[in-house]
């Protein structure tokens, strides 16, 4: 039993080892697969289906062992098709149609990240927030007839996750796992927002 405990301690020590290498001034590229689940009125009014075609890319500059700043972008593809039903038109008409929503978002955010554990630990949990704009392409199809709207609006994305380095922190790639709440106001055709919760998994690659 004592041997097992020692082995666990040794493993934890290995994972949490402080690398001697400094991490100041490291530029890293993060690529995540980030499927997103609609939230709030976006979920109840438009689609309750996850966007499986969703990706993010971050370019982060690690100022020191706790703080990083950079830019983030990505792509989300929300889609929902409702079977034929009768809708009430604004002019009082009755409209029977198959209704399809196709919504793409491309957020472009300035991002700040704070590591919860200082130093160069192999496992580094973090919190981050991105603030910026969001290019939305909204298409509502009534049968084959579409109603298009493209807008650039505000977006913010608080995020939490963990980086697990494959080797020395500054020079090695790392696994990234996290979740971000994408706050995306979008006022059009009775829609208030495109808020969604994205679960992220990907890699961090040091590029300088």
């Amino acid at each position: 039993m004592k041997k097992i405990q020692l082995a666990i301690y040794a493993l934890v020590a290995c994972l949490a080892v402080n690398h001697v290498q400094a991490q100041n001034g490291v530029l890293k590229l993060r690529l995540d697969y980030a499927p997103a689940m609609p939230m709030g009125s976006f979920k109840t009014d438009i689609t309750n289906q996850a966007a499986w075609r969703s990706y993010t890319g971050d370019l982060m500059y690690y100022i020191n062992d706790r703080w990083a700043v950079g830019a983030s972008s990505g792509f989300q593809d929300f889609y929902r098709q409702y079977p034929r039903q009768v809708y009430k038109g604004s002019d009082g008409s009755d409209i029977s149609a198959v209704m399809t929503y196709s919504i793409q978002t491309v957020p472009i955010l300035a991002k700040g990240e704070f590591s919860l554990i200082p130093g160069t630990h192999t496992v580094k949990p973090y919190v981050a927030v991105g603030v910026g704009g969001n290019l939305v392409t909204y298409r509502q199809f009534i049968g084959e007839y579409d109603n298009d709207k493209s807008k650039f609006g505000f977006a913010a994305a608080p995020e939490a996750g963990v980086n697990i380095a494959f080797g020395p922190w500054a020079s090695s790639a790392s696994l990234n796992i996290g979740a971000a709440y994408n706050y995306m106001p979008f006022n059009y055709a009775g829609i208030n927002n495109l808020d969604n919760l994205a679960v992220k998994a990907g890699i961090n690659i040091p590029i300088r």
Binding site: G74, G89, S96, E144
Partner: protein, 208 residues
């Protein structure tokens, strides 16, 4: 240096590729799913007050808001027969137009070779069935519930006008209109089903 250019470029390419993966709504629509059935009514009309109807013996073909021709193809005949059958199923009696029908029923094929708006205000203002056809020469047509629909392809329109009260009001009032839009609507094999769908969303259209 090359690395610094290549990596952001790779991100841009990946995002562009992701955007190219957008699920295309029209690829997931069957020919039937493309169809849209629009009906509207005069909210003051009492449809049970009408007992008889007469239907046009041909179809007006309207191209880019201009009457092109009145014709009777096998497909037109099928549409006329289907509309007549629906009216009779709802309790209305088919009579000749010289027998003072309560309702006049007309069919139009609407085509537009460019993106134009068919304004139903103009549609009724320049109605394509002369009031003489119904035995009320010189009486203007009018409608209280007209809408505006964008038409970029073919559509079939069915209109019901009030002939019972025309003599008293000196007007021929529209009481119900239906529009069938979508891929391949001018089709003999689907005409009956399309007309049935159009009438199915107007349960109030009956004699009792």
């Amino acid at each position: 240096m090359t690395k610094h250019v290549v990596m952001p470029l790779a991100v841009a390419v990946l995002l562009a590729a992701a955007a190219g993966c957008t699920k295309q709504p029209l690829d997931n629509l069957s020919a039937n799913d493309t169809k849209v059935y629009i009906t509207n009514r005069d909210s003051t009309a009492n449809f049970s007050s009408f007992k008889t109807f007469s239907i046009t013996d041909s179809v007006a073909v309207i191209r880019n808001n201009q009457l092109n021709v009145k014709t009777i193809t096998p497909t037109d005949s099928t549409f006329i027969a289907a509309v007549s059958a629906q009216m009779q199923q709802r309790g209305y009696t088919l009579v000749q137009k010289g027998q003072s029908p309560d309702l006049g029923v007309s069919l139009n094929r609407i085509y537009s070779s460019s993106t134009t708006v068919v304004d139903y205000g103009n549609y009724w203002g320049d109605y394509y069935w002369d009031s003489y056809y119904w035995g009320y020469p010189g009486y203007p047509y009018y409608s209280d519930y007209v809408g505006v629909y964008q038409v970029t392809d073919a559509a079939v329109a069915v209109d019901l006008v009030d002939l019972k009260d025309a003599a008293a009001s000196h007007k021929i009032k529209s009481v119900w209109s239906g529009l069938i839009r979508g891929a391949d609507v001018i089709n003999q094999s689907s005409a009956s089903a399309d007309v049935q769908a159009l009438f199915a969303q107007s349960p109030y259209l009956k004699t009792n």
